[in-house]
Symmetry: C2
Subunit: 501 residues, 2 copies
Amino acid sequence: MSKNYDKLCEYIEKIISFREAITLFEWDNETLAPEAAAENTSKAVGVISGEYFKAFINDEVKELLVTLSSEEEQKNLDFNQKSIIKNMKKSYEQMESIPPEEYRAYSELIVKSTGIWARAKGNKSFEEFAPTLEEIISYQKKFANYRKKEGQKAYDILLSDFEEDFSMEKLDIFFDKIKASLVPLLKQVTEKKDMIDKSYNYQTFDKEKQLDFAKFIAAYVGFDFTKGVLAESAHPFTTNLHNKDVRITTHIYPDNLESSIFSVIHESGHAIYEMNVDDAITLTPAGGGSSMGVHESQSRFFENMLGRSESFWIPVYPKLAAYFPEQLKDVSLSQFIAGINKAAPGLIRTEADELSYSLHVIIRYEIEKMIFEENVPVKDLPAIWNRKYKEYLGIEPGNDAEGILQDIHWACGNVGYFPSYALGSAIAAQIYSYMEQAIPVEEHLKQGNLTPIVDFLKEHIHKYGATKNTSELLNEMMKEDLNADYYITYLTDKYTKLYNL
Amino acid sequence: MSKNYDKLCEYIEKIISFREAITLFEWDNETLAPEAAAENTSKAVGVISGEYFKAFINDEVKELLVTLSSEEEQKNLDFNQKSIIKNMKKSYEQMESIPPEEYRAYSELIVKSTGIWARAKGNKSFEEFAPTLEEIISYQKKFANYRKKEGQKAYDILLSDFEEDFSMEKLDIFFDKIKASLVPLLKQVTEKKDMIDKSYNYQTFDKEKQLDFAKFIAAYVGFDFTKGVLAESAHPFTTNLHNKDVRITTHIYPDNLESSIFSVIHESGHAIYEMNVDDAITLTPAGGGSSMGVHESQSRFFENMLGRSESFWIPVYPKLAAYFPEQLKDVSLSQFIAGINKAAPGLIRTEADELSYSLHVIIRYEIEKMIFEENVPVKDLPAIWNRKYKEYLGIEPGNDAEGILQDIHWACGNVGYFPSYALGSAIAAQIYSYMEQAIPVEEHLKQGNLTPIVDFLKEHIHKYGATKNTSELLNEMMKEDLNADYYITYLTDKYTKLYNL
């Protein structure tokens, strides 16, 4: 055992505890806290974020991380310990250049901003959110500048917080490849979009029943309610204190059956990942999932690869039909499968079909690039947003709530996050292709036995938490790095078949 | 302005923020957190409690408190600032003798103990909770010993945490006086207990509807939902982060209509007190209510003085009857009023009528005295509990869940708390008698206008938070200290009339 590592553990304990407190405040803020609370509460969150910062960014931690990275110390450390040190060093370098007072002020801003965003969205008024967004962006630019090394670009720094291996250079190539294949495919599909009738989905569905089914389907795909909570919020999300306290939310629309179902399966994918992280690392800086791309690959895997397949619904659809016997009495399984896979350009990213989804991501990626690399002013963003929707998807938002205000991400300070969604989709398709060779996935789905599937993911990905990065996980599992071809082939095959192209 | 006071404020900010985090963890633990979370989460609560302790108990704060108590510094401070310093000095003295490591271990124990208590209660098994209770008591004894001055008794120290002016010496006199008047009165009433038929209360009442009515009645008495939350938990309680985030819980029984109604009115009384604390002090150590006795006086005032009066129900009963038209169709207002005031010895303190309530408190007071002053072993407690119930109330618990396990208090480490309930009842009756001379209380109730009543309490009690103690509040308001006669007269008049004695 290393004495220096023991010393580091004292800091880790504090860092993790403060982070848990902040996470709980955020969860509470999104799901329950009374309307008038935010201003007072944000002060506490600001103070605790400041303490988090001080517990992490200080000379002793810095020295310990340097010492523990030496060859001599590394000899005495196990794999997890080495990974924890590596991750902490990376985070340390990200944070050390930011003055604690600015970090604290920024944290206080972020607590208030989601409330402001929610009200602005409610009022369909970007103007109400614009000053806050401007402040957030200005902090992000300042922080990126503090962190930036010679020749680095500001947006690349933000991107690296979510996916370390994907700079604009790589992402431009990745998105270009996807565009080249999927844009023509989407066009072909859009011409035949009326082929599939999914009017059944837009009847009236009791909210309580929907919530009940949401709980059923979460448990069905493996969400363990002894270690987790499902609540409602404006925008669905997953958060966790540790591997035995993982929380997901959903938003239930009385006039849209599949919205909550698929968002719950999606968030369950994130949550099951966190629940399966090894006990030995859960209360450490390597205790969460790996990159955002890998995290999204798990949620997309559950939502799309499993949740939109016919095999998945064979044992489950009768249950859903029993929840809503009136509404679904004339809807066959195959109609339902066609319905949940129907591709039609829409305005809302979280409601998008698999085929047009990437275009929603590309729009956000391009706008973020413009904000950070071309300094486009915030006031111009709604017009740019609307123009790009017209251009890529052929439709235009009627108001800001279904346009630029639809996502919570920027209000949370998550700039550079969106590309992970597309990377995640591509990784999910690649993993599925590999998994099919290893175990009889469809058979398991048909039998309603998801355990071998979840266990497979646990063994190859989940249990490692953040001790391995995207590239390590993919290569060790499949002997291959990220390859977008699987994703393109998967979508091409699927939609060619579905629309008889 | 005092530079030293400004310095103190930096510590206050931290102290308050850590306390808010701990409060949120506790709330979450009671209302929502998944079952398996406690062990990991308790570590974070332990760490943050340790940080709370360190932020409060350190040489600089000690020195600042001494300096700021000097005549010279006091000249430059306003009333609130002086009170904050006085309160902090008191808490400092309470805490400084406890070693931080023990305080932290104790805090971790307390996070886990409520879960253990809840399971033991579920299983009706005191044995499952006994080892934890033993640990809690042993910490409390140790802490009381650390704090105790020459000649002081351990239980007196614990009592003073909730009500500084009431030691065993005073409480023995207070309880003896109450016993002398109420025990014979209760006997007379018990003989005629079948005079009032309240079988209507034990029909089946839909849980969702009960919850809806609970929300209505909370708002009706003044609970502001923009600053508060109502949730469900095993045992009703009130907690708050600050004056704009105050939370109450209720427990709904499908076969008992009034249980949730009166617990919600009760908790609303606590909550409205907290919501009305002045903005200038809410985020300070004087920001909560004054003593527990005063706090309970407010909850009892709402629950009993208002909530059990006929005037209160004149405008409200038709609403309740409309929620449950079938169950209440043959129940007149006067039957309902008789029902909610019916006195009959029962096993559960929180379900007790006003007349027998004090006996429940006396039993707990006597047992706590035995634990701390006679060192009675934990394993003997259920038998003592049951014997005392037989002796004072003439009935005996059938199991530990309706006996010694019924209250959460000991699991939270709240030893010495119970007497406040009786003190609160007495204070409530005294305030009501005074208020009636100042404003037309009954008229306001009949008109469904509770605002003048709540404003009266706000002006005389609530807004001051903990800047004044029990005795100061009562004397400044009514030119009289606590006087149990009002309480005895109130109950004697009420029950003589109700039972035609």
